[in-house]
């Protein structure tokens, strides 16, 4: 952007010891000085973009859930609660709702335990800490669809390395058909989600641990607190806000994830492992019933409302503290 103010050449060859007297244009305030206007100009496009392509679609999602919209046709009419009345008694929907809940709660609990454990150990000054962190980060970096594929192969009905290992160790008598049995399939799905989310949580918790002031910890050591007391009474309470951030991300990503279930089981066997996301995809995109798909997806909204509320609370607290 051309600035008349900053780049004006000196008038004539002023002797060095004399102050430069800039022209009148330099003196007055220009747009480049107006912070209020600049702020609006710089923020405006982004706000508009986000409102247009996230806010409006979000509202559209709600409207669609009350409509009979179908893929391929642009016109639709509102049908009131028909979509909801259709899915509410649907056992497949119940199953998906329950699976989503189970998946989210169990995997996040496991993630939290694994992440805190590894973060605390790594923070205790393990040799090779950087290398271990790199390895731990691998699952988070890999595109989720490719990782899911690797797990499909790992859980393969004929060639599963897990089955081979369990058998070789003498732990398995029968055969595990990972994607043939609803309970085993859910176990596999949860395993993949834990595997994918815990590295990220570890890094966040690790950052939280290193942000705990050293003198607080040293004071605890001087006071004679042992490892466990230090962990439970100093580290963990101070970690809480950071852990909440990790859990919020985990809950959001896990409860709304479509790719893992889609690639591992695609809802099978017998539609027993659908989660809300895959069911919405199946009904809305594959089945063409956009209205019902949107209605199914809308049941994720409460989760997001809770996450948003906690986020806001957390932000407000730090705003006061800052």
């Amino acid at each position: 952007m051309a600035l008349p103010s900053g780049t004006q050449p000196a008038s004539g060859s002023a002797p060095p010891a004399v102050a430069v007297r800039p022209g009148a244009a330099f003196r007055r305030r220009t747009l480049a000085d107006r912070e209020d206007l600049l702020g609006r100009l710089m923020l405006g496009p982004t706000l508009l973009y986000v409102i247009a392509l996230a806010g409006i679609p979000f509202l559209l999602a709600i409207v669609l859930s009350f409509s009979d919209a179908r893929a391929g046709s642009l016109s639709f009419s509102l049908v009131g609660l028909r979509n909801f009345l259709a899915i509410l008694p649907d056992p497949q929907f119940h199953r998906a709702l329950w699976n989503t809940l189970l998946l989210t709660v169990v995997s996040q609990a496991a993630v939290l335990v694994l992440a805190t454990t590894s973060a605390v150990i790594l923070d205790a000054g393990l040799p090779g800490r950087r290398a271990i962190r790199f390895l731990l980060l691998l699952p988070w970096a890999v595109p989720v669809s490719l990782a899911s594929l690797a797990w499909v192969w790992i859980f393969d009905s004929t060639f599963s390395v897990i089955n081979w290992t369990l058998k070789a160790l003498g732990l398995l008598r029968t055969w595990l058909f990972w994607f043939g049995d609803p309970a085993l399939a859910m176990t596999a799905i949860i395993t993949v989600h834990v595997w994918r989310m815990f590295p990220f949580a570890t890094v966040i918790v690790l950052a939280g641990l290193s942000a705990i002031p050293q003198d607080i910890r040293e004071a605890a050591v001087v006071d004679g607190a042992g490892f466990w007391r230090r962990l439970l009474q100093v580290d963990l309470p101070l970690l809480l806000p950071v852990a909440i951030v990790a859990v919020l991300f985990g809950v959001t990503f896990t409860s709304t994830d479509l790719s893992v279930v889609y690639l591992l089981t695609n809802g099978g066997p017998y539609n027993s492992t659908h989660v809300l996301a895959t069911l919405a995809f199946q009904r809305g995109i594959l089945g063409g019933d956009l209205g019902q798909g949107a209605a199914v997806a809308l049941f994720l909204l409460p989760v997001l409302v809770v996450v948003a509320a906690v986020m806001l609370r957390l932000a407000r607290r730090t705003e006061v503290g800052a």
Binding site: L38, L64, P143, L149, W153, A322
Partner: protein, 287 residues
């Protein structure tokens, strides 16, 4: 005293064991990708009931035939090109929107800036699952079905809020004194942004470029929804969807693709993760 020492050794050993197990859990699928990608088929497709054939190692010499197949007989390189194209355009769009917005939120819009910033960030949390159905309509209205441009339009909806939030944190970490000093030294606010803020925010901007790009590389749901022909696919869609033909899985090539795609991202991620986490948690860590 000795008791204490012994206990410390036991605790240490337990810690090592725990972290070793956890690390093993994290890297095992990658090891498995690696083995699968390089094994000959007769070493690969041996039923797991055969306890004499150990699947954890190469039983016959490794081969590059799966990798060759991937590069020569599949659209892998086309997907790489598509991904780089979408990634580059999306990163450019993201920077154009997020950098000014991040700065405005950090410095120019005052107290309600914080709240707007959080509101923006929350839209990042609105999941594809809720949005892909309305997006499907928008994409068909724009006649972008089965076009990479549909991804270019849609992907910034999550990269922009996220990167705006990250950049807001980076801009806040630049001392306010420096900007005020420059304003007194004869520069307008806009010139200050150009001559002082941007040079100091380079590493933050770079972090955002990296993460926007990796977010694009990892995206699966929208690509699955909007792209149907193999030649238009991105990596994360093409590999799991197009390399699988009916029930025929080319596991060697599939795993080669997964590994080759993942490793560069993993390395870049690792280089930038500290900045990334700092940006992400700057609210929670401050308190």
């Amino acid at each position: 005293m000795r008791m204490r020492r012994a206990r410390r050794v036991v605790v240490r050993a337990a810690q090592y064991a725990a972290i070793a197990l956890i690390t093993l859990f994290a890297v095992f699928p990658f090891y498995w990708m690696f083995l699968t990608a390089l094994k000959q088929n007769r070493d690969l497709y041996v039923g797991a009931t055969n306890l004499h054939h150990v699947p954890w190692v190469f039983n016959v010499p490794p081969t590059l035939e799966h990798v060759q197949l991937l590069f020569q007989r599949t659209a892998y390189l086309v997907w790489v090109r598509n991904t780089v194209f979408v990634g580059a355009v999306v990163v450019a769009i993201t920077l154009v929107f997020a950098a000014p917005a991040g700065y405005a939120l950090a410095r120019l819009v005052g107290r309600w800036g914080e709240r707007l910033g959080i509101a923006l960030f929350l839209t990042y949390l609105v999941p594809p699952t809720l949005l892909f159905i309305p997006f499907a309509r928008i994409v068909s209205v724009l006649h972008l079905q089965n076009s990479l441009w549909s991804l270019v339009v849609i992907y910034p909806t999550f990269t922009v809020p996220f990167c705006t939030w990250l950049l807001m944190g980076f801009f806040r970490s630049i001392p306010r004194d420096l900007e005020e000093q420059a304003m007194i030294d004869g520069y307008s606010r806009l010139a200050v942004i150009r001559k002082v803020v941007m040079p100091l925010a380079v590493s933050g901007l770079l972090t955002v470029v990296i993460f926007a790009f990796t977010l694009v590389m990892q995206e699966f749901v929208y690509a699955l929804t909007f792209i149907s022909s193999v030649q238009k696919m991105t990596l994360s869609l093409g590999v799991p969807v197009a390399l699988v033909r009916g029930d025929v899985f080319y596991w060697g090539s599939l795993m080669a693709a997964a590994l080759i795609t993942s490793i560069p991202i993993a390395i870049v991620y690792n280089l930038f993760i500290d900045r990334f986490v700092a940006g992400l948690t700057h609210g929670a860590l401050k308190g």
